[in-house]
Symmetry: C2
Subunit: 384 residues, 2 copies
C-alpha cells in the first residue's frame, strides 16, 4: 500500500473526507446552504472520545495537514508536527484538521456552485467571519461524536480560530494552543492584506469576481502572494537564504529578475495561482482583518469564567505577528484567572517559524499535551 509514500516513518497515505450539512447561519445574518467542510483525521479516537485534537489552518492552508495523498511527493503542511511520535502524536491522539469555509480547498466558498443560480457564487458568496469558520467546525466536531476536544491548536489565522473556539464554545475544549497570532489585526497587518486585495482587484481579469469561465486574475494574485511571502520571512532569514546572489539571466530582458530573491518570490507567486482562488483570497483576508475577538470590551472579559488552559507561542523574528500581540493574549488570560503558559520561541524564520521551527515548538507542545492528558485522567479518577 505504502510503496509510493516517501517517508515510511510518518502517517503514510491519508485521504480527505467531506462533511455535508444543510445550513449555517452566519454572523452577518445570511444563511449559507448547503455547506461542505473538507477535513482529514489522523490516529484513532479512544473509547471515551477524550483524545481528540483539532488543528486549525492558516490563511492559505487546507485540511491536508499531514501524511501523503496518493501520488504526492510532499506531505501535508504540518507533517513535521503531526504523526506517530511527533508533537501531535497520532499514537496517542485523534487529530482532526478542518478546512475553513470561504476557501477553495474542498469546503464551500466563492468558487462553489450557488444552488440559487446553478452558477458559481463569485461575489454573491456572503462575507464569512472567523466565528463562522469556527461555527462550521463545531458542527463537524459534534458530527464526529466528540463532546469536548482535548485541544484546539493552530498558527496565524489558525490561532485566531483557536481564540474564537475559546470564546464561542468554551465548554467544548480543555486546552488551546494559539501560535503566532493575535486577538485582532493591527493597521499594518490590515494594510498588507489590503495591498494583496488591491493587487487582485487591479487585475482586469478579476472582472468584479466574475472570472470562473474566463482567464483568472493570475497576475494580480501572484503579486498579492509575493507581498505575503515577504511578510512571512524575516530580514535575517532572507539574508541567510538569498543574500544578494544573482540569477542567471537567460534572455537579457530589462526588469526580469536579477536577484535570486526576486526569482524565488515570482516562483512562489506564480505557483500559488495554480492552487488558490482569487475570490477566496479576498474573502479570507477580509475575515482576518475584521476579526476582533473582544470588540469594544477589554480583552480579558472574553476569557472571564472560562476553564481552558492555554499554551501561547510566539516567535522572536516574526514581525508580521509580533510577540507583543501574543503577550496581550497572555495578559488578558492571566487577568481573567486562566492558566496560561507563554513562550517566545527563538527563531530567525519570521512568521514562517510556526511552520518551520519544529524542534523547539515540538517539545513545548508535547509536554503541554501530556500534562493535559494527565489532568484529564486525574479529574476523571477524582470524579469516580
Amino acid at each position: 500500500m505504502q510503496q509510493d509514500v516517501p517517508d515510511g516513518a510518518g502517517l503514510g497515505l491519508v485521504e480527505p473526507q467531506y462533511f455535508h450539512f444543510d445550513e449555517l447561519r452566519l454572523e452577518s445574518g445570511a444563511v449559507l446552504r448547503p455547506v461542505t467542510l473538507c477535513y482529514e483525521t489522523y490516529g484513532t479516537l479512544n473509547h471515551g472520545n477524550s483524545n481528540a485534537i483539532l488543528i486549525t489552518h492558516a490563511f492559505s492552508g487546507d485540511a491536508h495537514a499531514a501524511g501523503y495523498h496518493r501520488g504526492d511527493r510532499k506531505p501535508g503542511w504540518w507533517d513535521n508536527m503531526i504523526g506517530p511520535g511527533k508533537a501531535f502524536d497520532t499514537n496517542k491522539y485523534f487529530v482532526i484538521c478542518s478546512n475553513v469555509i470561504g476557501g477553495c480547498a474542498g469546503s464551500t466558498g466563492p468558487s462553489s456552485i450557488n444552488p440559487a443560480t446553478g452558477k458559481r457564487y463569485a461575489l454573491d458568496f456572503p462575507l464569512v467571519s472567523i466565528a463562522d469558520m469556527v461555527a462550521a467546525q463545531q458542527k463537524l466536531i459534534c458530527h464526529l461524536g466528540i463532546e469536548k476536544l482535548l485541544c484546539v491548536a493552530g498558527g496565524s489565522m489558525g490561532g485566531m480560530q483557536v481564540l474564537q473556539w475559546i470564546k464561542s464554545f468554551p465548554n467544548m475544549l480543555h486546552a488551546a494552543i494559539p501560535m503566532a497570532t493575535c486577538a485582532r489585526h493591527s493597521p499594518q497587518q490590515i494594510a498588507f492584506n489590503e495591498v494583496g486585495r488591491q493587487a487582485v482587484m487591479a487585475d482586469l481579469n478579476w472582472n468584479h469576481g466574475d472570472y470562473y469561465d474566463k482567464e483568472p486574475p493570475a497576475r494580480g494574485l501572484s503579486v498579492a502572494r509575493m507581498v505575503g511571502h515577504i511578510t512571512y520571512m524575516s530580514d535575517r532569514s532572507m539574508a541567510e537564504k538569498f543574500g544578494r546572489k544573482m540569477k542567471e539571466k537567460g534572455d537579457g530582458t530589462k526588469f526580469t529578475p536579477d536577484f535570486e530573491v526576486e526569482g524565488y518570490l515570482k516562483y512562489r507567486g506564480d505557483s500559488f495561482v495554480a492552487r488558490f482562488d482569487a475570490n477566496s483570497y479576498l474573502y479570507i483576508t477580509k475575515a482576518m482583518d475584521l476579526f476582533d475577538l473582544a470588540g469594544e470590551q477589554p480583552l480579558h472579559e472574553v476569557f472571564r469564567g472560562i476553564d481552558v488552559r492555554l499554551l501561547v507561542l510566539s516567535f522572536k523574528s516574526d514581525w508580521l505577528y509580533p510577540s507583543y500581540q501574543s503577550l496581550e493574549i497572555v495578559k488578558a488570560c492571566k487577568f481573567a484567572g486562566l492558566e496560561c503558559s507563554y513562550v517566545e520561541v527563538e527563531s530567525t524564520w519570521g512568521h514562517d517559524a510556526f511552520l518551520l521551527e519544529t524542534e523547539r515548538s515540538e517539545k513545548l507542545i508535547r509536554h503541554f499535551l501530556n500534562s493535559e492528558m494527565q489532568n484529564l485522567v486525574r479529574e476523571k479518577a477524582g470524579a469516580e
Copy 2:
C-alpha cells in the same frame, strides 16, 4: 509677490531650473544624449564658492525640496529642513537640490523623447545607476562654478547618492550626511521593490513599457505605491495614526475599504499615479537594488584615504532601512580612519522619520554644518 505663498517665514516662491548638457557616458557603457537635469537653488553662493550644499532626493522625490511653486498650497518635500534659520540655513548656505536622471520630474528619463526615434524612450532608455545619477549631478556642480561642496546630504536613495559622491568624487566635498540609508540593499529591500515592479508590469496597460499614447498602468502603479507606503511607516505610527478606525462605507460594496488605513493607502496610491511615471518606477527602483557601494571589496576599502567628514543618521523605528545598515557605514568609516559621527534618532515614524523627525535631526545637522564651516575658515586661515 508672495501673497499666494502660505508660509511667509520660509523661502517664498522658488522656480525650477534646467541644466542641459551634451552627453553622459553611463556605467553600462551606453551613452545618454542629450541630458537635462532639473534643479533648484536656495540662498546665495558666497564669494569663495565655499558654502554650497547639495541635497539629494529619495526615490519619489524631485528637485523641489523647499519653498513654493506659484499656485502651490504645499511647499517642497524638505521645506521643514531648508530655509532661513532652518537646519540647512539659506541665510548661510547656498543649497542646491538636483533631480535624478531616470526620473520623471524634469530630468531625462524613460518618458523623455529619444532623439534617435523622435518618440519617448520607454524601455529603450538605458539602465541607469546611482553612480550615473551622481555623475550627472557632478556636471551640474561644475557648471555652477563650485569646485568643492561644503556638504552633500540626503535620506534613503538620497543617502545612497551621498555615499556614491564620496566614492566617485572624494575631492569635491568636505562633508556628507547620509540619512536612513545603506551601502547596498538587503534581499528584503530588493523584495519590496521587486513586488512593486511586478505590480506595475502585471498591469496589462503597462504593455512592456509602451503606454505613453494610451492608458497608463495606473492600477499596477497604485498597488506598487501602496506597498511602498506601508514600508515607509512603522507598526506603531500606523497604530497611532489609524488604529482600527472604520471608514464610512457609502456604497456597501464588498471589498471596498472598511478601515481608514485602507482608504489612506488607496488614496496615496492613486494620487501617486498622477505625478509619477510607471517606467521611471522600474528604472529607479532597479538602480537602488543594483547599488552596491563596495561590490566585492570590504566596505572600508571604499573610504580608505578619503578626507570627508560624515554625520550618519538612522531612525529607531525605521525597519526598511534599519540602523544596523547605518552602523555598517559608520564602522567602515572608522576602520578607514574617517571622522564619522553617528546618531540613532529616536522616532516612531519608521522610514518617513528622515522627512518628519525634523526637530531632532535639525539640531544635529545645524551643529555639524556649523563646525564644518568653522573648520573651513580655520583651514583657510592656517593656509594663509
